[in-house]
Amino acid sequence: MDDFLIRALVAGIGIAVVTGPLGSFVVWRRMAYFGDTLAHSALLGIALGFLIGINPSVGVIVVCAGLALLITGMQSQQHIADDTLLGIFSHSALSLGLVALAFMQTLRVDLQGLLFGDLLAVTSTDLVWIWGGGILALGLLVAIWRPMLALTVHEELARVEGVPVALVRGIFVLLMAFVIAVAMKMVGILLITSLLIIPPATARRLAGTPEQMAVLAAAIGCVAVAGGLWASLTWDTPTGPSVVCSAALLFALASLPFWRRGYR
């Protein structure tokens, strides 16, 4: 196997292992569109990074995190429905990023790459980011797992039982922003948001506890990455979309009626 292929596989697996458990919460808490919105702010982050002369990756993380906190803060105001609020931020952030880029004559950003990513172009430095960041993210997620699960099931009950709800939720939202920002730079908006949603949704019908669902989602994500890479290599198809297609195929398979019925 070629080096670039191994790097792509290692990077994809590194991302899938984190997005499985993290994405489970995204699915449980109906935050799919929230993740999408954060991803759309990436362009703004890159522009900002160049503008004030910091690493674009850091720019993306800062903008994602800032947006995540802003949206979370505004959601508690409750004057506007959540999906409307997210729609406003999602499209404004993307447009603002495009407008900002237009002002910077010298900067050329590969929009195609940002949207679809290029798993095959992952460098060794990227791998360090993905695995270093991934281990950090997973550690944090494990640390807040029980309180986060408690407040997902019933927020007020969790609060009465002593869970610091605002703190835990804040950590989770920042964690999500961090994972999306780091991964998206390398694998694109499409792949990161898909890996957050599709593997957990696939795992749902096969799992009996939240923890089973999280672990299964990680495993399914890894299979999707491997399958997508293989397909991309075999049929010379674009890598990121191939991974998404293979994840969708797994979801379709898991939805077939001969599996254990999910409880409804």
């Binding site: 449980w28 408690a150 099931v153 007020e156 009465v160 009996g208 089973q212 409804r264």
Partner: protein
């Protein structure tokens, strides 16, 4: 904590949301080892009062006091676990964070939910769910147990059993209990003290006394008398010729709310 000691109280609580007054000069006190029931029609501020006591809402004026480091068990009014979240009863119970296997078994046994341990939360009946919620509350070995409409979605026979269970829990743990009900007559036998709420405290005292209180009668209307009659006859009517009218329609909530 001796029986009769005050462990939690709200004093002269006022709470407004927008132009609506939700609580007006409400005072209640919960004593260790005693069961206090807050009754009142829909929209009378019962749940708001509970939320204020739990610290989930801050009153505009007045004070809320809980004995320092008081362990509180809470049974929320309504709960529905999203079907997308796979979770068994025993996993749900451990989410409160104070469970080991032994205590888990004890809580399951006490509430009669032992055989439900491996069931998905979404597959529980109304009565089973209430028992599981009670199990989670008592797992914390609470000194104060707050129950918001604990018999909701439970049939009449199950309601009596559940109230009995709550009395039992009070006896075993020696905790103070504050519960909310829209129906005084069912809860009468299981309560030591009643507070009748209609945004302000209309009357309070021993259940027998409260039911004779003019303020109580006014709040629940003169129909209280024939409601009692309905109660006596309820078992004859339950499964009669598929009448679309459910027993629940005869509660004061739906009559006067």
């Amino acid at each position: 904590m001796a029986p009769g000691d005050i462990i939690a109280k709200a004093e002269h609580v006022f709470l407004r949301r927008g132009s609506k007054t939700l609580l007006e000069n409400v005072s209640v006190a919960v004593e260790a080892g005693r069961i206090i029931t807050v009754v009142g029609p829909n929209g009378s501020g019962k749940t708001t009062l509970v939320r204020v006591l739990l610290g989930l809402m801050t009153p505009d004026s007045g004070s809320v006091w809980l004995r320092p480091s008081l362990r509180v068990g809470y049974m929320p009014q309504r709960m529905q676990v999203d079907p997308v979240l796979p979770i068994t009863v025993s996993r749900f119970l451990t989410l409160g964070g104070r469970a080991n296997t032994q205590r888990l078994h004890l809580a399951l046994e006490t509430t009669g939910t032992g055989e439900l341990a491996d069931r998905p939360m979404q597959a529980l009946s109304g009565g089973e769910l209430q028992r599981v919620l009670l199990a989670r509350a008592i797992l914390r070995e609470p000194e104060l147990l707050i129950l918001d409409e604990p018999v909701q979605g439970v049939d009449v026979i199950g309601q009596n059993e559940l109230y009995e269970l709550i009395s039992q829990v009070r006896d075993t743990l020696g905790c103070g209990v504050l519960m909310v009900s829209h129906d005084l007559h069912l809860v009468m036998a299981a309560t030591d003290h009643v507070v009748c709420l209609d945004r302000h405290v209309c009357c309070s005292g021993h259940p027998e006394v409260v039911t004779q209180d003019p303020a109580y009668l006014e709040l629940f209307g003169e129909h209280v008398a024939d409601k009692l009659a309905l109660y006596t006859h309820r078992h004859d009517h339950r499964h009669d010729h598929g009448s679309p009218e459910k027993p629940a329609a005869k509660t004061p909530e739906s009559r006067h709310g």
